[in-house]
Amino acid sequence: MKAAVIVLPGSNCDMDAYHVLKDLLQLETELLWHRETDLSKFDLIVVPGGFAYGDYLRAGAIARFAPAVQALPDYIEAKRGFVLGICNGFQVLTEAGLLPGALARNIDRKFICKSVTLRIENADSPFTHLFKPGETLELPIAHAEGRYFDTPAQLEKLEKNKQIFLTYAEENPNGSVNNIAGIMNESKTVFGLMPHPERNSETLLGSGAGLKFFQSLVYSLEAVHG
């Protein structure tokens, strides 16, 4: 089993995700340079947080043309493994059309860094199965463009398919529609969320609850690989 963390120019949470996968979960993990296009040997690909290409124009707008990101559709199509976008990675995945919707500027226009309370809306996915449905947990957010938005028709579809797996439970820090904090694709192989589970994966940094997301993925992969 092998994971990759894509290093885009301007990624700055790449090492944080790497630390969790490699040091805490002892998963074989590589940093994947953005020019690489061969994703076939990886079972999990993480698009990390940061400011890829400076977030110029819109967060993720330029990053989606990076060769490694351009290789993702085939990887996903082939159901080769899981793709996880955290914060900026989520923005990249939506800009690339690999997850629906868009992330607009926070409603109060400012960057927000703080811990927020979240609720697990769907615990029946490879990314969330170690949680209980409705369970709440704290994770840090750190973004300026995290206001999830989509058309009413699309939102209805997301709700119907239970693609929304994570919502803001108490206050909605950025104005996201329906308090959406994290969504997945229809086939439950691509996950994106604005909060940072990798920043709360050790008790030293908080409750450590974020680790369960990564463990969920690893167990799911183990189930596949036997």
Binding site: N12, C113, A142, L204
Partner: protein, 725 residues
């Protein structure tokens, strides 16, 4: 001709111009004048300050690199080292707050990078006029968003800082940024050029017409009519800044790297000759080799440009391509622009043609130190005599809530919420959770604590004692979280030093800081001086800002600020009485700035710190907070907020002076009842007085019968800044 006029335009006195002519044995051309003007500017040469700076204590067993390099470096354990420095960007921020502050962050980060260290934390110390003033609000908002913009994009957490609002800064805001970096001892780099024939590489962003004469601009008073003289605003590109960090740390791994230096104020005029001076060599550079962003730039413009996000590297001849490839891989430019030469000169060529040539020893460090007088300011005599008549009775509740609502006291959440303080996943004490921020180091059991402090109102009232206090305040913040203070970086923000009264306060402040640091055994390893912070209307308060780093061997012994458990006992520890001088209380309720500043007994201070560290080391402290701005009751209120736990307190004496005086050498701690005897005997044996004031309690803060709900405290505290914004 108008040679002297051109010289004057470059800011030279006749005396300095003569010194130049004499040293060169001829008159300088315009480019040479430009080079001199930057190298000899106050900002780069420290000509008015260095005679006093020499008095600061700089040695210690951990010091690997003291003042003189891009940053100071201290050894921690197992080869781990910490590099840190503070830098000001006051004038640029006053002109364009967003870009001024952003490029300030970029600049200090590259200083740390120059040492071969990875930047792991940022802090910011800010001063503005009162928030009721619209211009101050705009500056404040712009500066905070500029710092956020740059630091967040870099992925370096901004974990702490401080801010004060005071009229004295309404024309000259202060923006000081501190960066902390980590490295292994063998990775240490210096800003040096060595080895005949070795090459000089310029890497990073291309060079444009930005900020020409920035350093000179920073070395003059900020005048209303200086629009015309203003250099182009420098715009930072944090994206390129981030790439530059990664590429440079990769390049620093190559054994062929000899010296590393960032381009800061003065750009190519100052950085390479400084490297040459350290290595006792000469350098020749060819301006036609410099990658340009703008067309048809003259040698003068190229040499004086302050374009951001650039580094110079001195490397072994023959290894050029390796370095260029690394920068290209990261999407950055890198070009060989020069080489080490035998003659000890800085030679600028345009192709084959030599367009300037100046002996290095004259250019770097050759500026004559101006003769400046000092005279004790007249205001000092009267201000310490000033007294205020206190009201006969007071409403404790109302007093406390009003103080918590003061922008100088209340919550800084509005600021730090805009800063990414958790990226890199090392921040174990976040802003608002402790007196100092704390960072773990992956792969180690130890932690670093960092803080910045400096209450300038105290320094204004008594430059010597106030500056001592700034050092002690930083020490307290580190000690409060359980960390041993190990090194200082300081930023001296002052008005125009040619005013003898201003210069006197400068000398006193350095004496005060030296006294405190020497007594407590903490070396200064880096720092910065920013002078000329005044307008026609106002001078700023003398404002020393102390940045300090602490070391904690076992991060499980860190101490939070908030009360942890009902039933725990609360103590005041240290100097139990003192006076009111310079307090926020007097300012808020009596609009009074004056009185005497309680002097610090440094012997007592030393014992107090040792005792506190020993308590922390034995894990006897459930929470600790130092008593500073706002005084005792504010400190206690701040301890109730993190976990929402109150206290049931009974103080022996209930005067306003006791509750709100800001005299130092005091902590509030909470401890488990089972440790009562241990703690009391330890403090008793150390000769440290203490007062037991009651237990932590669930719902309210109760002081001698006056009850204040935690919700009220919180509302007041949280509104301090937001009510203006």
């Amino acid at each position: 001709m108008a040679k002297l006029a051109v010289a004057a335009q470059h800011g030279f006195s006749d005396r300095e111009y003569e010194a130049i002519c004499q040293a060169l044995g001829r008159e300088p051309n315009e480019l040479e004048l430009g080079l001199f003007s930057l190298n000899w500017s106050e900002h780069c040469s420290y000509k008015s300050s260095k005679r006093f700076l020499r008095r600061l204590p700089t040695v210690g067993k951990r010091v690997l690199q003291g003042p003189g390099e891009n940053a100071g470096v201290l050894e921690l354990e197992n080869g781990w080292c910490v590099a840190f420095k503070v830098e000001s960007h006051n004038h640029p921020s006053a002109v364009e707050p967003f870009n001024g502050a952003a490029t300030g962050v970029g600049g200090i980060v590259r200083d740390i990078l120059s040492m071969g260290a990875r930047p792991v934390a940022l802090l910011d110390s800010l001063r503005f006029g009162e928030l009721s003033d619209g211009k101050s609000r705009r500056l404040f908002e712009g500066v905070v968003s500029g710092i956020a913009h740059y630091g967040n994009c870099l992925g370096v957490p901004t974990v702490g800082g401080e801010v004060y609002f005071e009229d004295t800064y309404s024309d000259n805001c202060l923006v000081n940024a501190m960066c902390v970096g980590l490295l292994k001892k063998h990775e240490l780099k210096k800003a040096i050029a060595l080895g005949l024939g070795n090459k000089l590489i310029l890497a990073g962003a291309s060079t444009g017409r930005d900020g020409i004469h920035g350093a000179t601009f920073a070395s003059e008073d900020l005048l209303g009519d200086s629009e015309e003289k203003r250099p182009n605003v420098q715009v930072g590109d944090p994206f390129v800044g981030k790439l530059l960090i990664e590429a440079t740390l990769e390049a620093a791994k190559l054994p062929e790297l000899i010296g590393l230096q960032d381009l800061g104020a003065g750009g190519l005029s100052t950085a390479p000759p400084e490297m040459a001076a350290r290595g006792d060599v000469g350098l020749a550079i060819d301006v036609t080799k410099v990658p340009l962003r703008a067309t048809s730039m003259s040698p003068y413009e190229i040499m004086l440009s302050e374009s951001q996000e650039r580094m110079v590297l001195c490397i072994k001849a023959g290894s050029e391509q390796k370095f260029i490839d690394i920068y290209r891989k990261w999407g950055l430019e890198a070009a060989v622009i020069g080489a080490v030469i035998p003659e000890c000169v800085y030679r600028i060529q345009q192709g084959k043609k030599i367009v300037a040539e100046i002996p290095i020893p004259i250019l770097v460090g050759g500026s004559p130190e101006p003769e400046l007088d000092t005279r004790q300011p007249r205001y000092l005599g009267s201000i310490s005599q000033k007294r205020v008549t206190l009201a006969k009775t007071f409403d404790l509740r109302e007093r406390l809530l009003s103080l918590l609502r003061s922008p100088n006291i209340g919550s800084r959440r509005w600021i730090y919420q805009q800063y990414d303080h958790s990226v890199q996943t090392n921040t174990v004490i976040n802003p608002g959770e402790g007196d100092a921020a704390m960072l773990r180091v992956k792969g180690g059991k130890f932690a670093l604590a960092v803080t910045m402090d400096g209450n300038a109102r105290h320094v204004y009232l008594d430059p010597y004692e106030g500056s001592k206090r700034a050092v002690c305040e930083a020490v307290h913040n580190l000690v409060a979280v359980g960390a041993e203070p190990i090194g200082i970086t300081d930023n001296l923000n002052w008005a125009n030093p040619t005013d003898p009264e201003v210069y006197w306060t400068f000398e006193q402040a350095i004496a005060g800081m030296s006294a405190a640091a020497s007594a407590l055994g903490i070396p200064f390893v880096s720092g910065n001086v920013s002078l000329y912070n005044q307008s026609e209307a106002r001078k700023i308060y003398p404002t020393p800002v102390v940045g300090m780093v602490g070391y904690l061997k076992d991060l499980d012994k860190r101490v939070p600020m908030g009360f942890q458990k009902p039933g725990d006992l609360v103590y005041v520890v240290g100097k139990l009485d003192g006076n009111f001088g310079g307090s926020e209380f007097l300012k808020v309720f009596y609009n009074f700035v004056g009185g005497e500043l309680e002097p610090i007994d440094l012997n007592f201070e030393k014992r107090l710190i040792e005792a506190m560290l020993s308590l922390a080391d034995q894990k006897l402290l459930r929470s600790t907070h130092d008593v500073s701005d706002g005084g005792l009751l504010v400190a206690i209120a701040e301890m109730t907020l993190p976990k929402g736990l109150g206290a049931e307190l009974r103080l022996q004496l209930l005067t306003e002076e006791k509750l709100f005086g800001e005299w130092p050498s005091r902590f509030v701690v909470s401890v488990s009842p089972k440790d009562k005897n241990k703690i009391e005997s330890l403090l008793g044996n150390a000769g440290i007085s203490f007062e037991s004031i009651g237990p932590v309690e669930r719902t309210t803060l109760n002081v001698n019968g006056a009850a204040i709900s935690l919700a009220e405290l919180k509302t007041a505290y949280e509104s301090a800044l937001t009510r203006f914004l």
